[in-house]
Symmetry: C2
Subunit: 120 residues, 2 copies
């Protein structure tokens, strides 16, 4: 099974999901499945910005003794973004509309992360 | 009603809640109610770091056209942190243990933010 199959499964099983991607912390997407993109919002640019923020938090976590980061969500007026760590170098990111199923999105990313990790 | 009453109400109504604070984006806490602090983790230091990250995301949001940030969560092995915007200058932050009631935490912050805003 390829990454893409997992990403499609995530997007198809979560109400309000727009796109899902496996990304490196350098902001480069390994693979992306896009169902639809909200008008005016460049998801890739947004994810690059968020990957940058995630990298900083990863570095801070050691100093702060909070343990490794497992999940981050950033919700704005027009976009819900869920991120789930896959490995020290990669994470899953799911973009959803603001009325999307947040709980289902978290759940599906949590069960998908080990599947993606097994193929890295 | 003071900020502190609201913060106590948040901590007391969410299972697994450790502490709640009204913070400025400069990382300075206006008021904090702490029920318990996890061993080794300095919540204040963690929040200062997160406030810094939040500031960056606020700046990025305009460029990215995602609309204003409403809510951010950062979950690590030892700590769940929920943040909810109150005004352009202040936000609520709630620290929870990893087995805390995440959904309840989000809900309680959402209904508490307008109450805190009314007193700013």
């Amino acid at each position: 099974m390829s990454f893409l199959t997992h990403l499609e499964a995530v997007v198809n099983s979560v109400e309000g999901a727009l796109a899902c991607s496996v990304m490196g912390f350098d902001g480069i997407a390994v693979e992306t499945h896009t169902k639809s993109s909200p008008e005016d919002i460049e998801l890739q640019n947004t994810w690059v910005e968020y990957a940058n923020v995630l990298s900083q938090m990863k570095s801070a976590a050691e100093l702060l003794k909070t343990g490794e980061i497992s999940e981050v969500s950033i919700n704005t007026e027009r976009l819900i973004t869920l991120m789930r760590m896959v490995s020290p170098d990669y994470f899953l990111v799911l973009a959803m509309s603001p009325d999307g199923n947040y709980g289902k999105g978290r759940y599906v990313l949590r069960i998908t992360a080990p599947k993606v990790k097994a193929e890295l």
